[in-house]
């Protein structure tokens, strides 16, 4: 796989070793009084940014850690310093 990702524990590895965990959306919302619509939006709706996006990956065939990284969705490359580019 062309994609490489940088695991915080194991370093830069082939994308085959990882599982995608979706966009970073923050922790689970408070459940009290939540409507089906707002819950569905948290679970299923995504920003689908064309550009740099913060997202979750699991190093499933390595150390097993879940971590966030920034990826440019237009070229499918991990971004080193997202702050400098966004």
């Amino acid at each position: 796989m062309a994609l490489t990702l940088t695991c915080p524990v194991c370093g830069k590895r082939n994308g085959y070793e990882f599982r995608y965990g979706g966009e970073e959306k923050g922790p689970r919302p408070d459940e009290a009084g939540i409507t089906p619509r707002s819950w569905c939006e948290y679970v299923h709706m995504n920003q689908c940014v064309a550009g740099i996006q913060k997202e979750w990956w699991c190093h499933k065939d390595g150390c097993g850690v879940w971590f966030t990284t920034h990826r440019d969705t237009t070229c499918n490359l991990e971004v080193d310093k997202p702050e400098a580019q966004s």
Binding site: M1, E31, G64
Partner: protein, 972 residues
């Protein structure tokens, strides 16, 4: 055909003859020949017939740029004869011929070109609509070159490797070799990929002097030897690159030679930096009948002689646009070819030394002349030359026309790497204007032609690549740049796109029989962009992957629009750059599966092993696939099931309970010591994904099981759903560390009591209890009293290394109680009779915990833990219009519906999850997911079975479980 055996540049071994078959004749070739050169040496000039017009096609190039020499080799169709080395015993057949290539019965198609304008079958064959089905059959019959038999099995061994490199150099010509050496001298690991069986590129066959008293061939072979000695460089020959991707991932495939263990091998190379030094192919000259056998490119003619010892013809005319053509004319003349005339497209700019060479040999030389027509019915016998405006003409009788308009840079890997290519007017090349990060370019594809310049550009690229890898290269870089600047730069490229022709058979693409006229038709239809014309005329979509039209088509279109500079755009290149067997991509057959510790003894006991997920498991223990004996023995005596595939996990630490609460629907704080707790996991849509049991072995230390299918994903799942919490807990997957035996049946306790001193009476070890004890004072077991199959049962978890011992012990101890193995199918029936579900069998992606009747597992009082699925469980609790799990019995007990049959009224209302004949109940029973309104007891279900011809089956919804509804037997 006699070979020139004395040449120092030869790559064949005249001492080693190979035999092969063509047209039922035994022919001979030499070791080192390709299939194409061996055929050429045997006098074969027509290799096959073209796709649409069945025109004769011959040897035109030697690197597989067109489908001209695609042949069937050893039963494999569409093998490129130019790039396939001859092997002893090969069987070669021509393709797309009715009869023989020389007398093809479909040759008349060539005269029907007027009936087949560009895109004719999209445009004409659908009016009226009823002719399309008839036309479709004919089009299908005519489509494609090679034929494959339905029984064909791809022979050969295939493999794959995934090497890493600091620098990957694509192209083993002089530039690539220099780049590889420069990078290796900086201490980097280099991979060098070359398509041909040897290094050296277009130096390999040339006798021109390099300025230091050696021929180019000698010098490059010396350099290749040096490079092969360099331990930093790994060289792959016969390895065409097929793709270049992000982060410098290069894919290629390597053809094995005699000593290799593979026939083809897929390579996926991850490199820090990539050097593209692919060089050039030739730009085909466009004139009438430009693909007639006897017409070939400069390199093809030159290499046939110098590399394979084959003089390509007797009398030759050259129509060229590059100094390499002049060099080839001189060289071939010296080898004995009669050169009647050399016509050069260029008015000036030739190397004066070459012109002088022509004069010395009295070879007529015409500046500003070009071939306009090749004559000859099947092979060439006459050529018409004309001035560029077409005002003067001359005819020459000959059997060889060496024709080429100029050079074409091989930019495929660069395009794939997303380099932006732009038209460069001086060279006439599409050259990268901006390179992607850590990709370097060197050599001929930049328009360089002087040998020293090519090598110097290679050194520079290799040094730049070393810089990409973090080596400090400032001084070397400066040195390499200075050296390059002192040498001659790029040569001017020839500008001519088409010769002045009148006819209809000037081919811009050989593979698809696309003529210049077809392109004009497309333009007249309003397809103005090259990409659209490519699709409408199919130019460049054949096996040659644009090798013939790739450069000419955009130039022709731009010229038509009147402004080459502004409008010339190359078409998009996609992987694979070279046709590749799917077998090569598939690689070797790694059937990676897991076996349980008692796999072999189950097999020895008659177990029928099936692949189930990642595991190999015993499905049956007899030829009777209804498993009657196995089932009845569990109900009557006792059975042993190998359940080692269950997911098994330890989860411990201060926040262990929090983690369990997060993922399990139940309130896990209510687990009591010595008891198992059954619960289920849902996803965020409340859909059930897993069920299993949890035991608490110590404070904050839990042991739990999951279904077999979820064993791989559970750790990931729990970590994902706790990723924001920073909880302190640990998990370890013990699935492979523990084997599991489920011993079930009324005699189970008697067997267990025989092998342990522990008290296993119902008082000491009741239903749903968990105990740890020793078997024979040696084997530690974790034991649970569960009832998946509906009988008194002990689930025994033992370290995998003890699994075989325990299995044998129980088998032996149980003999007097009628013990026997049972397999998965027996378990499936047994648990169905109890309506115990298997996730994935009685549930699907949209099935919630409520739907399968397990809603009671959900504890709504633990909202502070934010249970995964809890929100949706609340929201779907009273939702209507869902599929509910029900049990059913058949009205006609002689028929068991197939699993997956649908339940219908006037529309689909659900489906049968499982149905089997129950020996305990002496009738068929089953479980189905049905629309909620049909889930009421007593509802009549109409079952539509696959291929039932409208004969529906009928069933009635009944309460579950079917067997032992009070659950007395599991509490025995």
């Amino acid at each position: 055909m006699k070979r020139l055996e004395k040449l120092s540049t030869l790559r064949i071994n005249p001492a080693k003859t190979l035999h092969f078959k063509y047209k039922n004749k035994n022919l001979k070739g030499l070791s080192g020949d390709t299939v194409a050169t061996a055929l050429y040496a045997s006098g074969i000039r027509i290799f096959g017939r073209s796709l649409k017009y069945h025109r004769p096609r011959g040897l035109y190039s030697l690197d597989g740029e067109s489908s001209n020499t695609c042949m069937q080799v050893n039963g494999i169709p569409n093998v490129c004869a130019e790039t396939t080395l001859l092997a002893d015993g090969m069987e070669v057949k021509a393709q797309n011929v009715a009869g023989s290539p020389e007398t093809d019965l479909k040759g008349f198609m060539d005269k029907l070109d007027w009936a087949m304008p560009a895109g004719f079958y999209y445009r004409t064959l659908h009016k009226p609509a009823r002719i399309w089905p008839i036309a479709l059959k004919q089009v299908r019959k005519a489509a494609g070159l090679g034929k494959i038999s339905a029984e064909f099995q791809m022979p050969g061994k295939y493999d794959e490797i995934y090497p890493k490199a600091d620098v990957c150099v694509i192209g083993g010509g002089p530039a690539g070799m220099s780049a590889a050496l420069a990078a290796a001298e900086n201490g980097l690991r280099v991979i060098l990929l070359e398509t041909r069986p040897w290094l050296g590129g277009f130096f390999d066959y040339r006798t021109a002097q390099n300025g230091a008293g050696l021929s180019l061939s000698q010098s490059v072979r010396q350099a290749a030897e040096q490079l092969e000695q360099n331990s930093n460089v790994r060289i792959f020959t016969q390895t065409p690159v097929v793709g270049v991707y992000n982060n410098n991932l290069v894919t290629a495939f390597q053809k094995g030679c005699e000593t290799d263990y593979f026939d083809e091998r897929y390579l996926e190379i991850r490199a820090t930096s990539v050097v593209v030094a692919t060089g050039c192919s030739e730009r085909p000259l466009l004139f009438e009948n430009n693909e007639r056998p006897g017409v070939m490119q400069i390199g093809c003619a030159h290499r046939l002689a110098q590399t394979y010892g084959l003089l390509p013809g007797k009398q030759a005319v050259f129509s060229i646009g590059h100094d390499l053509g002049l060099e080839a004319a001189l060289d071939l003349f010296d080898l004995g070819l009669e050169v009647l005339c050399v016509a050069d497209i260029r008015e000036d700019g030739q190397d004066p030394a070459l012109i002088e060479g022509l004069q010395q040999r009295n070879i007529p030389f015409l500046r500003g002349w070009v071939a306009t027509r090749a004559h000859g019915n099947k092979t060439l016998h006459k050529v018409t030359l004309a001035t560029i405006p077409g005002t003067l003409r001359k005819d020459f009788s000959c059997d060889l026309l060496v024709a080429s308009a100029g050079m074409t840079p091989l930019t495929g890997p660069l395009s794939l790497a997303q380099a932006k290519l732009a038209f460069e007017p001086y060279t006439g090349f599409f050259i990268p204007r901006q390179l992607p990060a850590k990709i370097q370019v060197a050599g001929r594809l930049l328009g360089l032609n002087h040998p020293a310049t090519i090598e110097a550009s290679g050194r520079l690229a290799g040094t730049l690549a070393a810089g990409d890898c973090g080596v400090s290269v400032e001084s070397r870089l400066k040195e390499a740049r200075e050296k390059l600047n002192q040498l001659p730069g790029p040569d001017q490229g020839s500008k001519l796109v088409t010769a002045p022709v009148q006819g209809r058979k000037t081919f811009i693409c050989f593979d698809e029989d696309t003529t210049v006229k077809n392109v004009k038709q497309a333009l007249a239809k309003g397809f103005d962009a090259t990409e659209l014309i490519k699709r409408f005329t199919a130019a460049g979509t054949g096996p040659g992957q644009g090798g013939i039209p790739g450069h000419n088509l955009p130039l022709f279109v731009a010229q038509y629009h009147g402004d080459i500079k502004a409008t010339a755009m190359p078409t998009t290149v996609r992987a694979p750059l070279v046709p590749t067997y799917i077998a090569t991509y598939a690689g070797s057959n790694h059937d990676m599966c897991k076996r349980t510790p008692v796999h072999d003894s189950q097999k020895a006991a008659g177990g029928v092993i099936r692949r189930i997920g990642v595991w190999k498991r015993a499905r049956y223990f007899s030829k009777d696939f209804s498993c009657r004996a196995e089932i009845e023995n569990v109900r009557k005596n006792v059975g042993l099931l190998d359940a080692s595939t269950l997911g098994k996990f330890r989860l411990w630490g201060p926040d262990a309970l929090n983690a369990l609460q997060r993922v399990y629907a139940s309130d896990m704080s209510r687990i009591t010591n010595g008891k198992v707790k059954y619960s289920a996991m849902c996803n965020d849509d409340a859909c059930i994904i897993d069920d299993g049991v949890v035991v608490k072995r110590a404070e904050n230390d839990y042991y739990f099981t999951t279904s077999t299918a979820r064993a791989g994903a559970t750790v990931e799942w729990i970590r994902y759903h706790t990723r924001y919490d920073g909880w302190n807990f640990h998990m370890v997957n013990l699935t492979d560390a523990f084997g599991v035996i489920n011993m079930a049946g009324p005699n189970a306790r008697k067997v267990l009591a025989k092998v342990t001193d522990a008290d296993v009476s119902d008082d000491a070890f009741p239903y749903a209890a968990y105990r740890e004890f020793m078997i024979k004072d040696t084997i530690p077991v974790r034991s649970m009293r569960l009832g998946f199959v509906g009988e008194l049962s002990f689930e025994l978890h033992v370290p995998s290394s003890y699994m075989q011992a325990l299995w044998d012990l129980l088998t032996e101890a149980g003999k007097e109680f009628g013990i026997r193995h049972f397999g998965l199918e027996a378990q499936n029936v047994l648990r169905m009779e109890k309506a115990h579900l298997i996730i994935g069998s009685e549930s699907e992606q949209r099935t919630t915990l409520h739907d399968v009747g397990l809603g009671f597992l959900w504890s709504r009082d633990k909202s502070e833990e934010k249970t995964v699925g809890a929100v949706a469980l609340r929201q779907t609790e009273n939702q209507e219009a869902r599929l509910k799990l029900v049990g059913f019995k058949m009205e006609d007990p002689s028929r068991v519906p197939k699993d997956g049959s649908i339940i219908v009224d006037n529309r689909i209302r659900g489906y049968v999850c499982i149905a089997r004949h129950s020996f305990a109940l002496q009738e068929p029973v089953g479980l189905a997911l049905v629309d909620a309104p049909l889930a009421g007891e007593g509802t009549r279900l109409q079952i539509y079975e696959d291929e039932c011809n409208g004969q529906h089956l009928y069933a009635t919804v009944v309460p579950t479980p079917f067997y032992d509804p009070e659950g007395k037997r599991i509490r025995m």
